[in-house]
Symmetry: C3
Subunit: 205 residues, 3 copies
């Protein structure tokens, strides 16, 4: 493997893979799954959003092609398995964990928007891919546990990712890279952290 320069987006993406895998593993451990099921839930939560994104634009999921990302996902699974007995179910509510998870949401939304623009989809498509890359993994693992995806019911979580897609698409027409990516990450991260801080939510009907 060639040693490529590692930028802030790569670091943020790795943090996101770890956080998402840990979140999925904890969700699986709380449910009535065996060891295989728990690991599948962790890996799927980490890779599911990117896999949906790639399949929709006709690419083989990068998680099946490269090996870097897998290492981070397994770090997340291992961390969750090690920590979960000690933190007794409160790990997912820990501010540090929620902060790292928000970083993951922001970078995943940015990669979704990047892939969408490269594939020539519409503005609507960019927003869909940014959102789906951010929330797809968690939603797929919810579905495997036969739960209505939490992002459809409550929690100001998908909305920041969708906003990030809007920001990316509108800015990429006027600003050179990496400005759209940076703007997307900043907007997602800021709105998600504010939502956590002030307990934002969307109304029902």
């Amino acid at each position: 493997m060639a040693v490529a320069p590692v930028g802030p987006l790569e670091v943020a993406n790795a943090l996101g893979l770890v956080a998402f895998a840990a979140a999925g593993t904890l969700k699986g451990a709380d449910a009535d799954l065996d060891f295989f099921g728990v690991v599948v839930l962790g890996i799927l939560t980490s890779f599911g959003g990117g896999a949906l994104r790639d399949v929709l634009v006709g690419r083989t999921p990068t998680s099946l092609l490269t090996t870097n990302d897998i290492a981070f996902a397994f770090v997340g699974v291992a961390l969750a398995l090690l920590l979960s007995p000690r933190v007794s179910g409160r790990l997912r509510d820990h501010p540090l964990f929620r902060g790292v998870d928000a970083v993951g949401l922001a970078t995943f939304a940015a990669t979704g928007a990047l892939v969408g623009v490269a594939a020539g989809v519409s503005g609507f498509g960019v927003v869909v891919l940014a959102t789906l890359t951010g929330v797809g993994g968690g939603s797929l693992s919810d579905l495997l546990l036969t739960r209505v995806p939490v992002v459809l019911r409550e929690d100001f979580y998908a909305t920041p990712a969708a906003l990030g897609g809007v920001v990316f698409y509108t800015s990429h027409a006027v600003a050179p890279p990496p400005i759209p990516t940076t703007a997307c990450v900043v907007v997602v991260l800021a709105t998600r952290l504010l939502a956590l801080r002030y307990d934002w939510g969307l109304p029902g009907l």
Copy 2:
């Protein structure tokens, strides 16, 4: 955007997008979803069948590429949000709504068969794609709400779409376009409307 001549299939397809989006929105509003979830359910019901069809034949979903269809889907979402408080849950049982929904089923089945033949799939594949394009959106939104897709349990709804696929495939070998498309639409629409009129259903086992 160039102004292309608009044929009856385009009109029927637009009606279907509106009706399916409205049906999904109403389904989401009845469930315990927030505003984001309700809109997702409407859009997914409208685009889900076509997206499954496109992914199966290796195409990026047209709903992510073009902007025309999105407008119709959002019209359906908006109509449902405006009308649902006034018609108090009965909108989906209204004969007009069921008729427009049947038009959507018929045109979606025809586009599924058309895409399947163009992709060189087998006769079985054409029937699968016609059926899936017609019922896939509603089934995906059922799954998001953790419900067994209604088309698997009751309701003479998937069967007309499958019949339309059979009619398209058998007629396209002997008749030039647009005869297979027309025959498919007519057969789906007729069997679906008869099923509604006479309360048809398939037996269980």
Copy 3:
């Protein structure tokens, strides 16, 4: 259709298609589905794993392209419909049925690994595709019935398929075809049959 020489892998694959379709049909008949739903569950259980595999590597599912496999799947559906009233729900526990199902799991895992290597995925990707091809159909049909896929909860079923993927990937670097395929089939079949014989399971957490 040209008459091609039929090897043991083709025979095993056909047995698997029949067994998986029968298992899905029986599952659908036990649930509250109509006739269409029961047939869909049988066909999806038979083809679902291969369809997921093909979509992930950017191919149109072979089940939509060729007609041979469909014949075997419908044989499985018909057998299940004929036998289920007589064996009264015990068909799935019959040793013969479980043996044929294990043959299917083994050959499906091998085709998943083969397709993965041909598509140039990573070792992790080969294991994922082998496992998903083996257990994907049953898991999709579980999800349609809004059940947590049984392979995530109990049953030493996905683990043999994953082991088969590992064996295929490690052996294909050093041994010519068809040794990796044979090794994969043998390992999956042996571990699955031993698991059935000795009631193996994975621990929870």
